[in-house]
């Protein structure tokens, strides 16, 4: 499948799994959004040598993946975008950081530990973001953003962009496929067609935007969206979910639970 084709598939796939009737999907979007941001912030706040403590943070994504019946494989695939820059930044640490750090009784080069910590932080934050988008639709995330007082203009913007992405991706796919059929041995778009191919798409997009605007006017649009989806009320189980997981995250951050369990099992 082409890059654009797989992007379209990815969007539809995420839409499908986000609209499932799983109980995690039914949790209030604001709770999930705040928990995700909080979880990522706590995860990246771990010290660069605190590898053992960081591993404890796996509790949240692991449990949620199992509860929401999500594929870890799919989420790990998403690492291919994030990992190159993270690796580029972290790979130098063993060369420049020669401090020795004790992991239990084992003495390891600090640079190696900080590199591993960085990569695990990257992995956990990607898992948490995936968890959010796989259980919450964009519309619901936008609803949560509105509750967080993000201006209506920005939220409308996000919704409109999301609405037209699949449409324009489809057009780009058709155009690039047609181009590839006429230039079978060529990788990508030749520089002679850079302007005309993309420019044509742009002009069509502008015309489409005008049509969208006209149809919005016919539906009573007067410059502002009054309605951004149905109201979702916070229920008792949403509060419980939030309190439970926020306490867990804070607990793992404050208490070296992995070390305690390790010492207990190891008989230290």
């Amino acid at each position: 499948m082409s890059k654009i084709g797989s992007a379209i598939y990815e969007i539809h796939h995420m839409d499908t799994i986000a609209s499932r009737e799983q109980w995690v999907n039914q949790i209030h979007p604001l709770v999930k959004l705040v928990l995700t941001i909080g979880y990522i912030a706590v995860t990246v706040s771990f010290h660069k040598y605190n590898l053992v403590g960081l591993i404890g943070m796996l509790v949240y994504p692991l449990s949620m993946f199992l509860l929401a019946d999500l594929s870890i494989k799919d989420s790990i695939k998403r690492l291919r975008i994030v990992l190159p820059l993270v690796c580029f930044v972290g790979i130098w640490n063993p060369f420049f950081d020669h401090t020795f750090v004790f992991l239990g009784d084992v003495c390891i080069c600090g640079g190696v530990v900080s590199m591993l910590t960085l990569m695990i932080k990257g992995l956990f934050s990607v898992l948490a973001s995936y968890l959010l988008i796989a259980t919450t639709s964009i519309e619901k995330i936008c609803y949560a953003l509105r509750l967080l007082r993000v201006p209506k203009l920005v939220v409308t913007q996000i919704l409109l962009t999301y609405r037209y992405i699949t449409l324009l991706l489809g057009e780009v796919n058709q155009m690039t496929q047609a181009y590839a059929l006429r230039a079978p041995n060529q990788k990508g778009i030749h520089c002679k067609a850079w302007g005309s191919l993309t420019g044509q798409l742009l002009l069509r997009s502008v015309d489409r935007a005008n049509e969208v605007y006209e149809s919005m006017l016919l539906r009573g649009y007067q410059g502002e969206f009054g309605y951004l989806g149905p109201q979702i009320k916070m229920r008792k189980k949403d509060w419980l979910f939030f309190l439970f997981w926020s306490s867990c995250i804070i607990f793992v951050r404050m208490v070296p639970i992995v070390t305690i369990i390790g010492n207990f099992v190891g008989g230290h």
Binding site: A41, Y162, W194, A209
Partner: protein, 332 residues
């Protein structure tokens, strides 16, 4: 250049969120002041356009690799800096959520590094000043390349600073900068070329879509007739009054030739008609031999330069008006 969550410390992420929020608040205020309801759907579709076209691989000739479109610069050239900035926020959030390109915590950094520099710096420091004196294809190309190179350099430098401030890498500042900047210089140049190709196409096909474009046929020319006259007068006065002081006392080309032939710079004339003409000239000439009557001061030379220039302009303008007057009469 999307930063992952793992690359930023919470304090740095928070600071960048504050900075990006301030820029967003300013942009929202500006877009609302514009009061153009059409802009919102256009922004939405343009955001989707940028997202979709960033998926296209553009082959870089002779390298075997490919480049992508520079979203920030393109958007600001189409919808303006503030609307472009807000559109980029949407694009970056969707990229982060759907494709894990960037991170939720690092979103503030990514907005700043890509949207702020791309839209505000690119549009306000490069696009707008360059297009101020009128738009041309060469200017569109130059602004696109320059804008992309500069904004990517700034973005890459910000990534370096944010990562170092987060204490993530042990890489020394100089080494980090020396690695990031040249890579992004090449990327910026290629992205600039692609953006320039697209914007040039738009300029040829529908120039009115470009930010800051004004139709030269309908607008009153920047150099109106009155402006031209005023500028010409000032220049003439400067040259006539100032530079005439530096006029050479040596004979000019014709005088030099005559001197070579006759031994004098002036041809001796004799006869009644010459005497009458010389008399009239002596009586009527306000500034004989470029000086006041009976004076050889430098002021006279300057004054004669200014007066001469003004008379030349007046005669030219008068002739032009007469020409226009008769032409109009003929057409009607």
């Amino acid at each position: 250049m999307h930063m992952a969550d793992a690359l930023v410390a919470p304090a740095v992420a928070g600071t960048m969120y504050v900075a990006s929020t301030a820029a967003a608040a300013y942009s929202i205020k500006k877009v609302r002041l514009e009061n153009d309801p059409k802009k919102i759907p256009v922004m939405g579709v343009m955001g989707a356009f940028v997202f979709a076209t960033q998926m296209i691989n553009f082959t870089i000739p002779g390298t075997g690799s490919s480049g992508h479109l520079c979203g920030g610069m393109l958007l600001s050239a189409l919808v303006g800096p503030t609307a472009g900035f807000l559109t980029m926020i949407g694009v970056l959030l969707i990229q982060c959520l759907l494709f894990a390109d960037g991170g939720l915590l690092a979103l503030g950094c990514n907005i700043w590094n890509m949207a702020f520099y791309g839209c505000f710096i690119g549009a306000l420091l490069i696009w707008k000043p360059m297009m101020k004196s009128g738009m041309s294809k060469a200017k569109v190309v130059a602004a696109s390349i320059l804008g992309c190179v500069l904004t990517l350099q700034l973005g890459a430098f910000s990534v370096t600073l944010e990562t170092l401030a987060s204490g993530i890498t042990e890489l020394p500042f100089v080494a980090f900068v020396a690695t990031m900047q040249p890579i992004h210089l090449a990327i910026g140049f290629v992205e600039g070329l692609i953006t320039a190709a697209v914007l040039s196409f738009v300029y040829d096909a529908r120039p009115e879509l470009l930010y800051g474009y004004e139709n030269d046929l309908t607008k009153e020319g920047r150099f109106t007739f009155q402006h031209t006259i005023a500028i010409l007068t000032v220049v003439a006065m400067l040259i006539g009054g100032g530079l005439s002081l530096l006029a050479s006392s040596q004979p000019d080309g014709l005088e030099w030739s005559i001197q070579k032939l006759t031994g004098s710079t002036e041809v001796a004339s004799s006869g009644e008609i010459y005497e009458i003409a010389a008399k009239i000239q002596d009586q009527w000439a306000v500034l004989p031999d470029y000086a006041f009557h009976g004076s050889s001061s430098a002021l006279g030379t300057s004054f004669s330069g200014i007066v001469g220039a003004c008379i030349v302009i007046a005669v030219c303008v008068g002739v032009c008006y007469l020409f226009k007057f008769f032409r109009k009469k003929r057409i009607s």
